[in-house]
C-alpha cells in the first residue's frame, strides 16, 4: 500500500500516532457511557497535537494541547455532568437512518481514499530536509499574523468576544420578576 516506504524514526512515530488516533476515534464511536466518549476525544486531540509536531507546526501543537485537550475537553465534561452524567447512549433502533449513515460515510471514505491512493494524482514529493529549516516557528507565525493577516486576526478576536458574550447570554437563567 505504501510502496517505497523507508522505515525511519519518523515513520514509526507516525504509524504509532495514527494507530492511537484511530483507536481513540473508534472508542468514541463504540463506548457505552457518554463520559468515556468525552475522555476518548481528549485522546484524539492529544494525538492530533503529536501529528502537528511531525508536520513541524510546533506552536499549533501547543495551542492544540492548551485549547482542545485542556479547555474544550474539560468544558465538555462539565456539560455532560451538568446534564445527565450517568446516562447511557441508548441502543440504536434499526431504522433506515443508520443504514443510510453507514452507506454515506463508507461511500465518502472510499471516494476520498481512492482519490488519495489510486486516482494517479501526483502528490508533491516530500523533501527530506524541512522547508522551514533554521527558522523559529513562533516568530514566523507572529510576523505573518501581525503583518499580512492583521485584519483577519482582529476580526477573529471580535468573533471570539461575541461568542463569549452570546454564550453567557444563552446559558444565563432569566430572572423571574
Amino acid at each position: 500500500m505504501f510502496s517505497g516506504l523507508v522505515i525511519t524514526g519518523q515513520t514509526v512515530a507516525f504509524f504509532l500516532i495514527a494507530l492511537f488516533l484511530i483507536a481513540c476515534g473508534v472508542m468514541l464511536l463504540s463506548m457505552k457511557k457518554v463520559i468515556y466518549m468525552a475522555i476518548s476525544i481528549g485522546g484524539v486531540f492529544i494525538g492530533a497535537a503529536a501529528v502537528y509536531i511531525l508536520l513541524e507546526a510546533d506552536f499549533l501543537a501547543f495551542a492544540q494541547v492548551l485549547v482542545y485537550a485542556g479547555a474544550i475537553t474539560i468544558m465538555l465534561l462539565f456539560a455532560i455532568m451538568l446534564t445527565k452524567h450517568d446516562e447511557l447512549e441508548r441502543p440504536a433502533v434499526i431504522t433506515a437512518h443508520p443504514v443510510w449513515s453507514v452507506l454515506g460515510t463508507a461511500g465518502l471514505g472510499l471516494i476520498v481514499l481512492w482519490v488519495v491512493k489510486f486516482s494517479g494524482i501526483k502528490w508533491p514529493q516530500a523533501t527530506a530536509d524541512s522547508p522551514f529549516q533554521g527558522q523559529d516557528n513562533v516568530k514566523m507565525i507572529g510576523e505573518s499574523l501581525f503583518s499580512q493577516y492583521v485584519i483577519p486576526f482582529e476580526l477573529v478576536s471580535v468573533v471570539l468576544i461575541v461568542a463569549l458574550v452570546g454564550a453567557i447570554t444563552l446559558a444565563n437563567k432569566e430572572e423571574k420578576n
Binding site: T11, V67, A79, V116, W123
Partner: protein, 102 residues
C-alpha cells in the same frame, strides 16, 4: 521518510469517523464532539499541504490557527445552547429536539 499520502489517508479516516458519529450519535454533546473531530481532520490536511506542498509556507498554519479559534467559539456557543435546551426540555437527546421539525 514521511509522505503526503499517509497524512491525507489519516485525515480522511478521522473525517469519516467524525461524520459517522455526527450522523448516528444521540447525545447532543457527542454530536458536537464529532464535529470537532472533523475539524481536526481538516486541520491535519491543511498542515500537511503547508509542510509538504508545492510551495511550503506558513500560511497553512495561520489558517489552521483561525480554524481552531472559530472551533473554540463554536463549542462555547454550542454548549450554551445545550444548557438552555436542557433547562427547557429536560433532555439531551438529539431526537427529542423536534420543535422546529417539519
Amino acid at each position: 521518510m514521511l509522505s503526503v499520502e499517509q497524512f491525507l489517508t489519516l485525515g480522511a479516516i478521522l473525517f469519516c469517523i467524525g461524520l459517522f458519529g455526527a450522523l448516528t450519535k444521540r447525545n447532543i454533546i457527542i454530536v458536537l464532539v464529532s464535529v470537532e473531530l472533523m475539524l481536526t481532520a481538516v486541520n491535519i490536511n491543511l498542515l500537511t499541504f503547508a509542510r509538504f506542498g508545492l510551495t511550503p509556507s506558513i500560511n497553512g498554519q495561520i489558517f489552521t490557527l483561525f480554524v481552531m479559534t472559530i472551533a473554540a467559539a463554536e463549542v462555547a456557543v454550542g454548549l450554551a445552547i445545550l444548557i438552555a435546551l436542557y433547562r427547557n426540555r429536560n433532555t439531551s437527546d438529539v431526537r427529542d429536539q423536534d420543535l422546529m421539525k417539519w
